[in-house]
Amino acid sequence: MRLEASELAVERGGRIVFSNVSFAIQSGESLIVTGRNGAGKSTLLRALAGFLPLRGGEVSLTPLLEDSIAENIHYIGHADALKGALTVAENLSFFGALLRSGQGGLSVEDALAEVGLVPLADLPAAYLSAGQKRRASLAKLRIALRPVWLLDEPSNALDAAAQQAMETVMAAHLSAGGMIVAATHARLELAGRELRLGAAT
């Protein structure tokens, strides 16, 4: 599988955030997007996910197994998509049902165990700490199997142990043939290329 972006340009509020961004990654490769605040890291990830219209350029994924690129993508953004009124387990099983976890994803129990949230499974998500919410959000990566992970500051609010666990999961995903595009300021233990935004403009 190959994710290719050629000469991407995105405009937000009349301002060109970035232009002429190109990269290509193969199965098992990762790309770390870096750059100062406002360089367009989050914008790039949202554009790759198809949430933002492109002003120019093209994103392609070959071979395309599902109907659309969107169905191959996991996007972890700043918002966790957790509903405070639902328990952690209910939130995760909803993610699973919505993202069609049918083929080979972990069960909700196993995913909770992996992120260390089993004791909190029946607690409404509103009572979780920021780091625990982040972990619950990351658990959806494992509940539904999708090849392309777009991670926006994945290690935000995570403690050292959780960060290490996350890096293990990411490494396993890569060795299983997945792809990761991560935007981060933190140092990630990922053997991947770096895409520096903002230098050119």
Binding site: F51, L54, V59, A79, A81, L86, E90, F95, A97, L98
Partner: protein
């Protein structure tokens, strides 16, 4: 191939139903636990109905005459309560991004959310309407046509409201704008709804004619509103 993959709503067989069922159950659970919505809408409806005789005076004949109209306006306003949060919560907490990546057409997700919202807020109003009709001295033989007209009409109000909710999804205080946008669009439903509600069996006005037009309006909203609301959501989520 660049963006908005969900726009190509290619229908697959049954796998499409499982995510929608999960969404429907999620919406009902959230609605029940947070409260507000349904019971509060009925209380609001009750207050409007109680205020009417106080304002109009204790003229039973006059009250019976304006009862269908008052009940319909009450239901219309009660339906609007809480509609502004229909998509806003999902927009703010990132669930909307999840919907866009789910592979389920956004139109069907919007429709499912509307159905759940109607079950939580519209259905209790319909159930309460006969009792409130009695409070306004509505003759017993008109209670049935009133309830039926509300049952057929309130889904259209929720669906039309969903367009406004999608358009105001990124506005902090979108409630007022939503009402201004949506209430004029509700006029046809109101016209034929009150006409059907005021038609007692055996009276001069036939019940079936306005009622069938009202049903047609609801069916039209059932198809058109999810498409419009989904298009608005895609624009607004940028």
């Amino acid at each position: 191939m660049t963006s908005g993959g969900g726009a190509r709503a290619k229908m697959t067989e049954s796998p499409i139903m499982a995510p929608l069922r999960a969404l429907f159950i999620r919406e009902l659970k959230i609605g029940q636990r947070i409260g507000g919505g349904g019971p509060l809408g009925v209380v609001f409806f009750l207050i409007l109905v109680t205020l009417t005789p106080i304002a109009v005076g204790p003229d039973l004949a006059l009250l019976a005459k304006i009862a269908p109209a008052m009940l319909w306006i009450g239901a219309l306003l009660a339906c609007l309560l809480g509609l502004d949060r229909l998509f806003q919560a999902d927009f703010e907490d990132g669930s909307l991004d999840l919907f866009l990546l789910s592979g389920t057409p956004l139109e069907l997700i919007v429709l499912t959310k509307c159905l759940a919202h109607w079950a939580l807020t519209g259905l209790p109003l319909v159930a309460a309407a006969p009792f409130f009709g009695l409070m306004l001295a509505l003759p017993a033989n008109e209670l049935g046509s009133l309830t039926l007209s509300l049952l057929a009409g309130t889904p259209a109000l929720t669906l039309i409201g969903a367009i406004g909710a999608a358009l105001t999804v990124s506005l902090r205080r979108g409630g007022l704008l939503l009402s201004v946008l949506i209430l004029p669009l509700c006029v046809p439903v109101l016209i034929f709804g009150t006409a059907a509600a005021g038609a007692a069996p055996g009276s001069m006005i036939p019940f079936a004619t306005p009622f069938l037009i009202e049903c047609a309006l609801t069916l039209f909203a059932l198809v058109g509103a999810p498409i419009a609301a989904a298009a608005a959501l895609r624009q607004m989520s940028e």
